[in-house]
């Protein structure tokens, strides 16, 4: 994740006082990582753009209520995650039941078709797209946003053990999907 070098807490305090220049700085620091996270979750750039703007508007409105118990980054990403999950539930792409979420394989295009002329990484990317949104979230937050298990648990609002379980199932699903594509013996 591009590092947020600004002192986020100080910036958010200024935003809470109505400082638009501070908001602009905060927006510019968070827009890219938020947008990328939301694209990964909802798989639609127009929707991710609307959500990003919604999240930042809520940051403006909620800055006064931020108590500093968590990092600004996890707070902002938590808002984004919940907005995306609500949207996906409305679109019926996300089951309410955690057990069902563990089993789901999404209906993205078959990676075999995508990778007829591609390489292993493209195939891996295609397979990632087929994971459930909750699994994609954990993988994106781990590998792109560079967040710890504890930070991810705060963002997706679940126990740390659940984050590990989701990652375990994501790896298992990926391994299974790799097997379907004829690639075997790969440990993920």
């Amino acid at each position: 994740m591009p590092s947020l070098t600004t002192d986020d807490h100080a910036l958010l305090k200024r935003v809470a006082k109505g400082d638009r220049a501070a908001f602009r700085t905060l927006f510019e620091a968070f827009q890219q990582p938020l947008f990328r996270y939301l694209v990964r979750l909802v798989r639609d750039e127009a929707m991710a753009r609307d959500l990003t703007n919604e999240v930042m508007f809520e940051v403006w409105q909620g800055a006064k209520r931020f108590e500093g118990r968590s990092q600004v980054r996890t707070w902002v990403f938590g808002i984004a995650h919940h907005k995306a999950v609500d949207l996906l539930r409305k679109r019926s792409e996300l089951p309410w039941d955690e057990d069902a979420a563990m089993q789901i394989v999404d209906d993205a295009p078959d990676p075999l078709e995508q990778t007829a002329q591609g390489d292993t990484r493209r195939m891996m990317l295609g397979l990632l797209e087929r994971l459930s949104p909750e699994h994609r979230a954990v993988i994106q937050l781990t590998y792109y946003d560079g967040l710890s298990i504890r930070e991810i648990a705060e963002i997706v609002d679940c126990p740390e053990a659940t984050v590990k379980t989701r990652m375990f199932y994501a790896r298992k699903q990926l391994k299974g999907l790799l097997g379907e594509t004829g690639v075997t013996g790969v440990e993920i």
Binding site: F23, Q32, R36, R40, T52, N53, F57, L128, I139, E187
Partner: protein
């Protein structure tokens, strides 16, 4: 033969932590646990190599996604509108409360004064409902996502503008005429106007760029939620 579950526990924990080891976000103690397991288990080392590849895939694909430019002005525009609406509503409520208190005071006055006060209070209530309704309509009854078509039909292409103190009325009029725009609301207490591009085919981003280029007259400009 009995299976040694206790011996498996650190391996199993190390395997669960492996993705975060690959991402470099473990605590020192967790990292040490994973490294001990890695030293003893070639299969785990193979798994780590695949996880690192997965991480690289995620990073590469994410880096190719670029957020659209200019959205901060859209959100700031929405903030301006929301605050302006809230301020008007607060003022209306304050005014209404004062009138109601005055009405109650007059309720104990002679009959003629009471009748006049009742009529005035009714007029204020009607006025409040109409004005708040207008403000609400103007904002589409709350923020709409950029993709919502209904609001665009009602609002047309609108911008929020604040002119510099030195700008004369004539210069502003000329600027708006050149731009093909007209004032549809304002100014509020902060000097913010809402202007509308009169040509349906006008390019909103180009209009914003034009206005930004007139720093001698324009202090702030942003697209209103369309």
């Amino acid at each position: 033969m009995t299976h040694n579950h206790e011996a498996d526990a650190p391996r199993s924990e190390a395997e669960a932590l492996l993705p975060w080891y690959a991402a470099g976000t473990l605590s020192e103690a967790e990292r040490a646990l994973v490294e001990r397991a890695l030293a003893e288990d070639p299969a785990l080392r193979d798994e780590l190599a695949v996880l690192r590849d997965l991480g690289e895939t995620v990073r590469e694909s994410s880096d190719r996604i670029a957020a659209p430019a200019g959205d901060v002005d859209r959100v700031l525009g929405r903030i301006e509108l929301a605050e302006r609406t809230a301020k008007i509503e607060r003022e209306m409520r304050g005014s209404l409360m004062e009138r109601i208190v005055e009405g109650l005071r007059l309720a104990f006055a002679p009959p003629m004064a009471r009748a006049l006060a009742t009529a005035a209070a009714l007029a204020i209530v009607v006025q409040t409902v109409v004005i708040v309704g207008l403000v609400s309509d103007q904002n589409g009854g709350g923020y709409q996502m950029a993709t919502a078509p209904a609001v665009e039909q009602v609002l047309g292409k609108r911008l929020i503008v604040s002119f510099s103190e030195a700008a004369s009325v004539a210069a502003v009029n000329d600027l708006l005429q050149d731009l093909g725009a007209r004032v549809v609301d304002g100014p509020n207490a902060d000097g913010i106007y809402v202007i509308e591009l009169t040509n349906p085919g006008a390019d909103l981003d180009a209009a914003i760029a034009d206005l930004r280029g007139r720093g001698d007259l324009v202090r702030f400009v942003a697209g209103a939620p369309q």
